[in-house]
């Protein structure tokens, strides 16, 4: 399993800048050439805006007990609550407006996904660059750990960590970071190994620049394109895995209801035909993940010169 991934990462090179326009500009123009990717980007922006502004745009605060009434429980979409609020997406068993609960859930799911992906990105990047730059036993050790970890299914590693660490937001984030860092480390190492032999690194070394400076100011920026692609896919993966863990009751606590927990709450009502409690949070999750993947797919096509003719 390790062969093809390492190879494709290894041969990825930054796109040669065209003489006329800057490479960033070209990449942006190319991105907007695909209508599917633009739809993905628009959806993603919408999701992010909802997540960021959830407390201000939600019809009610679903976790303020003064605002919800258990008598409004399990109302189908479109009914009015006793206080005149319309439940556009129905209400759950506690009488919460599902639309508001989804907005808040998106906020938590996205936050957990993005934070864990960013920390994993930082950790994996440093490990991958150290492995590529120093080589020898450091490289062997780090990459062996990466190989071994990637040979286990992600959910199994997450289960071990949750069983070991217990439950809670911080523990879930730690589990997600542990699952993800190896992908970044492998990608960065592959790219860095190629970049390291280039003239600009030689030039920087001749100028007697310090090692950290060469690593982070010269090597790192040139390793970024494949990292960006991996990062988008990993954020989606992290959100899905967090939702899965929360659905199993092993993820976020009930006080931080992510989309996975909302779906789990509605599960028992699904069999009696009250589909909306599970269905709509699932759609929100789906839109988020698919939007990220659409954007990631297009980024991969743009940033991978092997697909260029």
């Amino acid at each position: 399993m390790s062969g093809p991934a390492a190879k494709s990462a290894g041969t990825t090179e930054p796109k040669a800048a065209a003489a006329s326009a800057s490479p960033w500009r070209l990449a942006i123009e190319e991105f907007f050439a695909s209508p599917v990717a633009v739809v993905g980007l628009v959806l993603l922006l919408g999701v992010v805006i909802i997540a960021v502004f959830a407390p201000w745009i939600s019809p009610q605060n679903p976790y303020d007990l003064a605002q919800i009434d258990i008598m409004d429980g399990r109302q189908p979409p479109g009914t009015q609550s006793m206080e005149g609020l319309t439940f556009w997406l129905g209400s759950d068993d506690q009488g919460r407006d599902m639309l508001s609960a989804i907005f808040y859930g998106l906020r938590i799911s996205l936050a957990v996904g993005v934070v864990s992906a960013l920390v994993a990105l930082a950790l994996g990047t440093v490990m991958g660059m150290v492995a590529a730059f120093f080589g020898g036993w450091v490289d062997s050790l780090i990459m062996r750990i990466v190989d071994i970890q990637l040979s286990f299914p992600a959910i199994l590693i997450a289960l071990i960590l949750i069983a070991v660490l217990g439950q809670g937001v911080d523990k879930v984030v730690i589990a997600l970071i542990t699952v993800q860092w190896a992908y970044y480390a492998r990608t960065v190492r592959g790219t860095a190994l190629v970049e390291r032999r280039r003239e600009y690194i030689e030039a920087a070394t001749c100028l007697a620049l310090s090692r950290p400076r060469i690593l982070f100011r010269h090597l790192l920026p040139n390793c970024l394109p494949p990292l960006i692609v991996v990062a988008t896919v990993q954020v989606a993966g992290a959100i899905a895995l967090e939702a899965t863990l929360s659905f199993l009751g092993l993820g976020l606590p009930i006080t931080e209801p992510s989309l996975g927990l909302l779906i789990a709450n509605g599960f028992e009502y699904l069999l009696s035909g009250k589909y909306w409690i599970s269905f709509f949070p699932g759609i929100a999750l789906l839109v988020t993940i698919v939007a990220i993947n659409l954007v990631g797919d297009q980024l991969r096509d743009i940033l991978n010169p092997r697909l260029k003719k």
């Binding site: 399993m1 071994i148 040979s151 286990f152 299914p153 959910i155 199994l156 289960l159 071990i160 960590l161 949750i162 069983a163 070991v164 660490l165 217990g166 989606a236 899905a240 939702a243 899965t244 659905f247 199993l248 009751g249 092993l250 996975g260 779906i263 599960f267 699904l270 069999l271 035909g273 589909y275 599970s278 269905f279 699932g282 999750l285 789906l286 993940i289 698919v290 993947n293 797919d297």
Partner: protein
Amino acid sequence: MTVYLIRRLMQAGLVLAVMSVLVFLGVFAVGDPIEILISPEATQFEKEEARRALGLDLPLWQQYLVFLENAVQGDLGRSFVFNMPAIQVILMRFPATLELALVAMLWTVLFGVPLGLWAGLKPNSVSGKTIMAGSILGFSLPSFWVGLMLIMTFAVMLGWLPSTGRAEPVTMFGITSSLWTAKGWAHVMLPSVNLALGQIALVIRLTRAGVREAMLMDYVKFARAKGLTQRRVIGVHVMKNIMIPIVTVLGLELGSLIAFAVVTESIFAWPGMGKLIIDSINLLDRPIVVAYLMMTVFLVILINFAVDVLYSVLDPRVRLKDSGS
């Protein structure tokens, strides 16, 4: 070859040893099972008595050594909840999980390979593009939500298939399985499809990439020039060459199917070991958690090892590259 085998075997052993320490140490830190098992009214003396009976009063390293010594003999402790050997509790559930994983594997081969072949032969057709778009969905949809939607559609709305449980297993030709009856297949249908979707997407992508690459090769042109039918060129010449990576990945993914069965089993109340582990984590039934994790880790290592060895037998380039570096 022997050197390669020994090296891989040592690596597998090391990983297993490290995992056993991690799992044991970690699970030890989760919580005190005594607080859960014994009624809160129990006196301090009764609690101490129970602690001693379960071996929880010993120092940590001693508990680990006892654990290791017993584990080597196939004894992973007694379940606090079932009051039975943990390994026995898990082995009782294992056939159900294996059955689910194997049926999912069947769907993966039955649908993944032909669809991937089609998409690879006609990459620019509408059908080919639809298959690829579908495979992106198969990858990115969280499997638990797909499971819920399957229940909603086929069990609640259409009422065609049962949503939960496994049919009573029947023994035939010495194999006990629920698949000998039509009712068994009805029950396994939704969970196995749910479990298989991600794998089908993966196999579609692999097959498509392999076919597209192989179709440009000289041997395909040669076979065509000989006047062979399209069916024979693809069915014999192309398939033979793309099957190695597909079979390898399928082998590796068996471990992942067994691990991901945790999710599917929880949704469909399938009485396998995946459902058991979730219950046991919540009940702090430490021996079961440890035994499940150790056994799944062992299975995954075993599968990886077997696939690696098989691969190096089939493809000498792998073996040569590895011993050269």
